[in-house]
């Protein structure tokens, strides 16, 4: 049996919708492995004695173990192992930047392509969703310890912290501002990358652990953190994300049909504007639309614009392609679909028509100088290079910053100069007793998995504190 197998250095490719097809629909782009493909890919795993992939995972998923279970055709076991560490595997398998985390550390990466951990994770999660009869009835055997914890925000940080605390017997209530739970997973990341049904399934799993999710609750308005502390909550975990959009601050930016990426994506994903008029929320893309920015959000917005019917979609970015913060895979998907990249280009002002609608943007060219604080080469304007692009709409995707609603209504919560909550990274503790914080609110806009890691660490620390095993500083 122990004959040494020859390792295939290439990963099993994942089937995808063709670019011509997918740019016209909101269905998922990557179709996921079949059972055979998953087993073939899983069999490439070296099952290292000292697996370094695990160290690359912010929630320490037992990667070789769940892959082994796939090889053994024991899917229920694969699910059990995966979910032991990660309550949201269907989400992570789709949107985590594995190439800079677990897969980067894979020993196979030294010789060839690392094992496709993300795709296998997705496969296991999708298998579980297709086999609801297998997933055990959660929550029933968890005994309440009678202690109440409030969590603000139902994004990945909040959901993870809630699941971990519920599994330990806490009575957890999540307070969510919007009318659905999931945070950016629901309102930001588009359907074609992360189907909302997948998110809903994982939210339902968290609920099945006994977590109560109260929607329509804007904390700081309807109730405050201090009131929670007075009214019987033993601890609070703040996970409201970094939801406030940044703008370019150039003339004409308030013209009609200029959107923040948050607004554009919220209308599209959360409010289902792509189904207007069946759904009531409208959106305008016109024929030509420009998206400003070079991150994942810009890619998502541009791809939504294509699917909403725009004929020409531009991504306007002031540095060059290599400096783009977007994941390589998403950048490639975006280009394949036909989005036009206008690099080393910066906008100066928007120009409107008589009715105050945007009709053009004036841009100028940039060149790259010496590296700046971020280590990327600084873009410098090239004088005399102004030119005009005619557009019908624009999307500003420059990033987001923390929303001040909670800090401004919570006594004694210290902030950093970026407006994020000052937080101890290892534990999630804040300057305020019995208040923890994690996710984008603590770090500024980051990733799903880093938010989940923070939720997990906070759950561990809250548990230790409430059991009297640790004290507040």
């Amino acid at each position: 049996m122990a004959e040494k197998k020859k390792i295939n250095l290439n990963r099993v490719p994942i089937p995808k919708q063709s670019p011509e097809m997918r740019r016209k629909n909101f269905s998922e782009v990557a179709l996921g492995y079949t059972g055979e493909q998953a087993i073939e890919e899983a069999n490439r795993c070296l099952q290292c004695k000292k697996p370094s992939c695990k160290d690359g995972c912010p929630v320490n998923v037992d990667i070789p173990e769940f892959i082994k279970a796939i090889c053994d055709h024991d899917m229920p076991e694969a699910v059990r192992i995966l979910k032991g560490k990660n309550s949201l595997p269907g989400i992570c398998g789709r949107v985590c930047p594995q190439e800079t985390q677990c897969e980067m550390r894979c020993n196979l990466a030294k010789k060839g392509a690392p094992i496709a951990i993300g795709r296998l994770e997705r496969y296991v999660a999708d298998w579980e969703r297709a086999h609801p009869e297998i997933s055990e009835k959660q929550g029933e055997h968890i005994k309440s310890n009678g202690k109440k914890v409030a969590i603000v925000g139902s994004g990945p940080a909040g959901l993870t912290c809630a699941a971990d605390l519920a599994k330990r017997g806490y009575e957890v209530t999540i307070f969510e501002a919007l009318h659905v739970a999931g945070g950016v997973l629901m309102y930001g990341i588009p359907e074609f990358r992360l189907p909302k049904q997948v998110v809903q399934g994982e939210v339902d799993y968290v609920k099945s652990l006994g977590v109560e999710i109260k929607l329509d609750q804007i904390i700081g308005k309807i109730a405050t953190v201090d009131e929670f502390l007075e009214n019987g909550y033993a601890a609070i975990f703040l996970a409201p994300g970094a939801g406030a959009p940044m703008f370019l601050n150039i003339p004409g930016e308030n013209l009609s049909d200029i959107y923040s990426a948050n607004e554009f994506l919220t209308r599209t994903n959360l409010m289902k504007a792509y189904l207007f008029p069946e759904y009531d929320t409208p959106i305008k893309v016109g024929k030509r639309i420009a998206v400003f920015g070079g991150g994942n959000v810009a890619m998502d917005a541009s791809r939504c614009a294509l699917r909403l019917g725009a004929e020409e979609v531009y991504i306007i970015y002031r540095r060059s392609k290599v400096e783009m913060p977007a994941r390589l895979e998403e950048r490639e998907n975006t280009e394949e679909e036909g989005v036009i990249f206008k690099l080393l280009t910066n906008p100066r002002k928007f120009i409107g028509d008589e009715q105050g609608r945007v009709k053009a943007v004036e841009c100028y060219e940039m060149e790259l100088g010496e590296p700046d604080e971020s280590g990327r080469r600084r873009p410098i304007p090239k004088p005399g290079t102004e030119f005009i692009i005619d557009i019908d709409a624009a999307i500003i995707a420059l990033g987001t910053q923390p929303n001040p609603i909670i800090p401004s209504t919570t006594k004694g919560l210290e902030l950093t100069r970026w407006g994020t909550v000052k937080t101890d990274e290892a534990t999630g503790r804040t300057s305020k007793d019995r208040v923890w914080c994690g996710g984008d609110m603590a770090t500024g806009a980051a990733t799903v998995i880093s938010a989940m890691g923070a939720g997990k660490r906070a759950a561990t620390d809250i548990d230790a504190y409430l059991q009297g095993k640790s004290e507040l500083p």
């Binding site: 919007l178 109730a223 406030a244 959009p245 308030n254 009609s256 409010m271 105050g356």
Partner: protein, 277 residues
């Protein structure tokens, strides 16, 4: 789900809902608003809070049927439920003892100025209210606004009831005759703009409640951005109240018209679908 405890038709197309929302009722203050979504396919729309009752745990909203969304909302009755009801949002109106305060309201906004007039009076101000309507049939809450004001002036555009003309005319006379410390104007955007133009030469601080299109109402999308004193503000969190003399009115009106075509289309579809029954 938020239960409608009572419904009142104030005119043929202006309706009042008293909604069960105890947590919001506990926190509500004059000048704040809620975001409402009536059903699964519905949009999120902002509606100003017209009243609240902490004991009963209710919040009152008043709205006018304009597009498909508000028409659908109007079909709900006492006993039905609203899917989402979020608040209280925005900053409350600044209430202080200023002296003489003139409260001007047009159309359905009469309902939203009542709690403000009341709070102003309770703070020790002399409150003079002006309410304007297009015509006699649309007049409502004359007594109610009167009961929280020291003086009340009613106008109709066509002169079919009380004083003929626009609200800006008695407003100007008051500014000429009396020592007015502050004006609060709420209503259709054009009305607020003209109130602002009327008070500006007198240098009397004027507060308006802006109603741009909104989505989340929490400062997350920036859809509600307005320009005030050449600065971009988010009406849902920085407002909705702003200094009228600083507002860029044309920008606000342009942005309010962003989806005019889509709204017409939705209304047309709605009308054809409802007439089929």
């Amino acid at each position: 789900m938020y239960k409608i405890l009572a419904k009142e038709d104030l005119t043929s197309d202006i309706h009042l809902f008293k909604v069960e929302a105890p947590a919001i009722a506990r926190k509500a203050q004059a000048g704040q608003f809620v975001i409402v979504r009536s059903g699964e396919e519905g949009e999120r729309i902002p509606l100003t809070i017209a009243g609240w009752d902490k004991e009963e745990g209710s919040v009152t909203i008043v709205f006018m049927e304009v597009g498909a969304t508000t028409r659908k909302l109007a079909l709900l009755n006492s006993g039905d439920s609203i899917l989402n009801f979020v608040g209280p949002l925005g900053r409350p109106t600044e209430i202080e003892k200023f002296g003489t305060v003139v409260c001007v309201a047009g159309g359905f906004a009469i309902a939203t100025i009542v709690p403000i007039a009341r709070a102003m009076r309770e703070a020790g101000n002399k409150v003079i209210s002006i309410m304007g309507f297009r015509t006699r049939e649309l007049v409502f809450w004359e007594e109610r606004l009167g009961s929280v004001s020291d003086e009340l002036i009613v106008t109709t555009d066509d002169g079919s009831y009380k004083r003929k003309g626009l609200v800006t005319e008695p407003l100007k006379e008051l500014l000429q005759e009396a020592e007015v410390a502050r004006v609060i104007a709420i209503g259709p955007t054009v009305m607020m703009k003209f109130c602002s133009l009327t008070t500006k030469p007198f240098g009397v601080k004027t507060i308006v409640s802006l109603n741009p299109i909104m989505v989340d109402g929490t400062g997350m999308c920036g859809c509600c951005r307005v320009s005030v004193g050449d600065e971009t503000k988010f009406a849902c969190v920085d407002g909705p109240d702003f200094d009228a003399h600083e507002v860029d009115w044309d920008l606000l009106m342009n942005r309010q018209r962003t989806y005019l075509d889509e709204e017409r289309e939705a209304l047309r579809l709605w009308e054809t679908s409802t007439t089929r029954f």
